[in-house]
């Protein structure tokens, strides 16, 4: 296996803590917050993360395919989730300990519930506003009600973290290392 060449392009307004494991070609957009103990592995192909995303502790984002893994804006990756989806839209929520396989493409405004495993055998696309919940990962469509309040909440969440995280964690700056 070819050695992984690390190449991190982190926007100056993004907050990435020191304790994050980064590997491979990773681009992080403005305003994104990566908590300590998160893991972003661009093993086979690059990962591009949009702006305003929040990646919490123990989240694992892995790209094992050669294609670029694009993650959109304002997504929330909660604690313990493991994401391998090749393309993710914006305003999605991946709840605690959820797992998304590399066969699923996620659009926008989706919610993957806690502990849900999305691992269909064939390639699948989750349309907008899909909610996955329950132990057997049932799906249903959200009407979108309350999305403005949720968007507002997420922005406030990100702003709060932007203030607080640097006070208590060391930040990783710039390129490499």
């Amino acid at each position: 296996m070819a050695p992984i060449r690390d190449k991190f392009t982190i926007h100056s307004k993004a907050i990435v803590c020191q304790d994050v494991e980064l590997k491979g070609d990773i681009t992080i957009g403005s305003g994104t917050i990566v908590h300590p103990k998160a893991t972003i592995f661009a093993v086979a192909g690059p990962i591009v993360i949009g702006s305003g995303c929040i990646i919490e502790e123990s989240a694992i984002i892995v790209n094992r395919r050669k294609e670029v893994m694009r993650i959109g804006d304002d997504n929330l990756f909660e604690i313990g989730c493991r994401i391998e989806a090749p393309s993710i839209g914006f305003f999605n929520t991946f709840s605690t300990r959820s797992r998304v396989h590399h066969t699923v493409r996620i659009s926008s405004f989706c919610v993957i519930g806690a502990n849900c495993v999305l691992a269909p055998a064939d390639d699948d696309t989750l349309s907008d506003y899909t909610v996955v919940y329950g132990p057997s990962a049932e799906r249903r469509t959200w009407t979108g009600k309350g999305k403005i309040q949720e968007a507002d909440l997420r922005r406030k969440h990100a702003e709060y973290l932007r203030e607080m995280l640097p006070k208590f964690n060391r930040l990783r700056r710039g390129d490499g290392t």
Partner: protein
């Protein structure tokens, strides 16, 4: 396959001797220790089946509000205070304001106010269902139950039920009048009462009092006398329902053409509400998922348990809904010694397996070897260890004895006796029968000989887990008291399996222990009964247990079908 010890509860039966364990019916009389209670007055073990249960309070599982029992009936066993259950995923709904008007994409025209904007609706955080899908919105975020009550009252089922009640009232009143000594049911209303309290009051007024003439507001044509009684009853007017029965199925799953049409038009199975979603409703509702309405959360109850014989309280929970403790907690674990059984060769085998598994991480474990090595093979003799833990603050003397099983006349299940023959004489148990003592329970630091014992244990464990299968420790005996440590005594026994043995190795064991209470310090949960206060008074208690050592791997099938256990 794990070996365990279950305790016998006689459940008020005359004989305290339990049935032999190879009978299927005996499974119900044996319970694990943590599910048993102990009644001090009767000096007996009680289990969940023989204990009498009563409700000690009702509470809402969501808001943890204790509901007084009077309101429970009035509110139909549901929470009256804004607690609703999502019909889709059965989680709690929260009241949520609507979104402010959206100017453009992602840009807010005005900051969102903290109170929020009407209309408010119910929203499930888990599955993102919201009540606007069924058309329920509120103008105010509080007092939701009252707002929904109006909806419930005008539902077709409630109106139909009220109409039925109105129809049957006069008839019931007439029949209660005509019977000579009637304890009139509370249904004899003079007119329809919506409030159950005034209904109860008017029922009390209408009650038949001997010696006093009955008050009837309506003049009845057929004044009840003995002969006319039957005539009155037969004169029942015909009931006209509010709705035509054929159309009723649009409201509920009453069968009929409407449901058939629904099934024909079905495109996706998720359109039909599942059983878990539907069975919480009081009436039978429509089958479609989109018709499911939010429900008020049903109340839960806290129960207290009493001894069936002397009605003393065994378990009494605290009144506060959020506290999980108990005011009175007479559990058997505080009185009876806890017995666990283990087969040392199984433990050794498990140690080997885990050591080997650590070495080769991806190779699948070799199953049949594990079974034959760790299981009980016919024709061999295995030692087993039983540890008894004393919960009392006094030392106890324990005497064990195996119950004789009368299996001479046992019949096989009619299949020629080859399959699942109850292992009757096929095994012989030997356990120490001399009384041995177990030290009293005390705090951990009070045991002096702790460190020595623990050092020994570590060495033994290392010797077992690492290395080859060898004699774990040169013991002079396998049957007898093996060790005593803190308030635990380990005794060893032996089971010898016959060559043709099959089935499970289970035997009843009588445990009799005597304890002396020479200091009157009470143990946990004790009522100090007079006999204990007397110094040097010995009390004996005996109970039966069943010891299950696992299944026997029959000899000839050991290689062919290891999964036969």
């Amino acid at each position: 396959m794990v070996s365990n010890v279950l305790y016998h509860c006689p459940c008020l039966s005359a004989s305290s001797v339990p049935p032999p364990p190879h009978l299927e019916s005996s499974a119900y009389s044996f319970h694990p220790l943590h599910t048993l209670f102990f009644c001090e007055e009767c000096d007996a073990v009680r289990c969940n089946r023989c204990v009498s249960v009563e409700v000690s309070g009702y509470y809402c599982p969501n808001c943890l509000f204790e509901v007084p029992s009077a309101s429970v009936r009035a509110e139909k066993n549901r929470c009256a205070r804004n607690c609703f259950m999502c019909p889709n995923c059965r989680n709690t709904l929260s009241v949520v304001p609507s979104d402010p008007p959206d100017a453009g994409d992602g840009r807010l025209s005005a900051p969102i106010s903290t109170v929020g904007e009407p209309p408010f609706f119910l929203y499930c955080n888990h599955c993102r269902w919201d009540s606007s899908e069924v058309g329920i919105t509120f103008e105010k975020p509080t007092g939701l139950a009252a707002q929904l009550q109006k909806l419930e009252d005008y539902a077709p089922e409630s109106l139909e039920f009220d109409r039925l009640k109105e129809h049957f009232e006069p008839i019931l009143r007439a029949s209660s009048l005509s019977s000579s000594s009637s304890v009139a049911p509370s249904i004899s209303h003079s007119h329809h009462h919506s409030n159950p309290i005034t209904a109860a009051a008017s029922a009390a007024l209408a009650r038949d009092i001997p010696g006093v003439a009955k008050y009837t507001p309506h003049a009845r044509s057929g004044r009840p006398s003995g002969k006319d009684r039957s005539a009155n009853k037969d004169e029942m007017p015909e009931y006209k329902s509010r709705l035509d029965i054929n159309h009723a199925s649009t409201y509920g799953s009453g069968g009929g053409d409407v449901d058939v049409e629904l099934m024909r038009r079905l495109e996706d199975v998720s359109e039909i509400a599942s059983l878990e979603q539907r069975w919480n409703y009081s009436w039978s509702t429509s089958l479609e998922t989109r018709d499911l309405k939010p429900l008020r959360i049903p109340l839960h109850s806290k129960r207290s348990k009493r001894c069936p014989a002397c009605t003393h309280i065994l378990i009494k929970p605290e009144q506060k809904a959020q506290s999980v403790r108990y005011k009175i907690k007479l559990v058997a674990a505080n009185y009876l010694p806890a017995i666990t059984v283990a087969l040392p060769h199984q433990i050794e085998m498990l140690g080997h397996i885990s050591a080997e598994a650590a070495k080769r991480s991806t190779k699948a474990p070799v199953d049949d070897d594990k079974d034959t090595r760790g299981g009980l093979q016919a024709g061999k003799t295995y030692p087993f260890h039983m540890s008894l833990t004393n919960p009392l603050y006094d030392p106890i003397q324990v005497r064990l004895s195996v119950q004789r099983m009368h299996v001479a006349a046992a019949v096989s299940s009619g299949e020629g006796g080859t399959i699942d023959k109850a292992r009757r004489p096929p095994f012989a148990i030997s356990i120490p029968t001399t009384p041995f003592s177990v030290a009293p329970f005390a705090e951990a630091w009070e045991y002096e000989d702790d460190e020595e014992m623990f050092g020994l244990d570590d060495d033994e464990l290392e010797a077992r887990l690492s290395g080859r299968e060898k004699e774990p420790k040169p013991r002079s005996k396998t049957v007898g008291i093996l060790e005593k440590r803190a308030n635990v005594t380990v005794v060893g026994g032996e089971v010898a399996l016959g060559k043709e043995a099959r089935g499970e190795v289970k035997f009843n064991m009588l445990v009799a222990y005597t304890y002396r209470s020479d200091d009157p310090a009470p143990s946990e949960g004790h009522d100090i009964s007079p006999s204990k206060k007397a110094a040097l008074e010995t009390k004996t208690f005996a109970f039966y247990t069943v010891v299950d050592l696992g299944n026997i791997i029959p000899k000839e099938e050991a290689r062919i079908d290891p999964y036969d256990v």
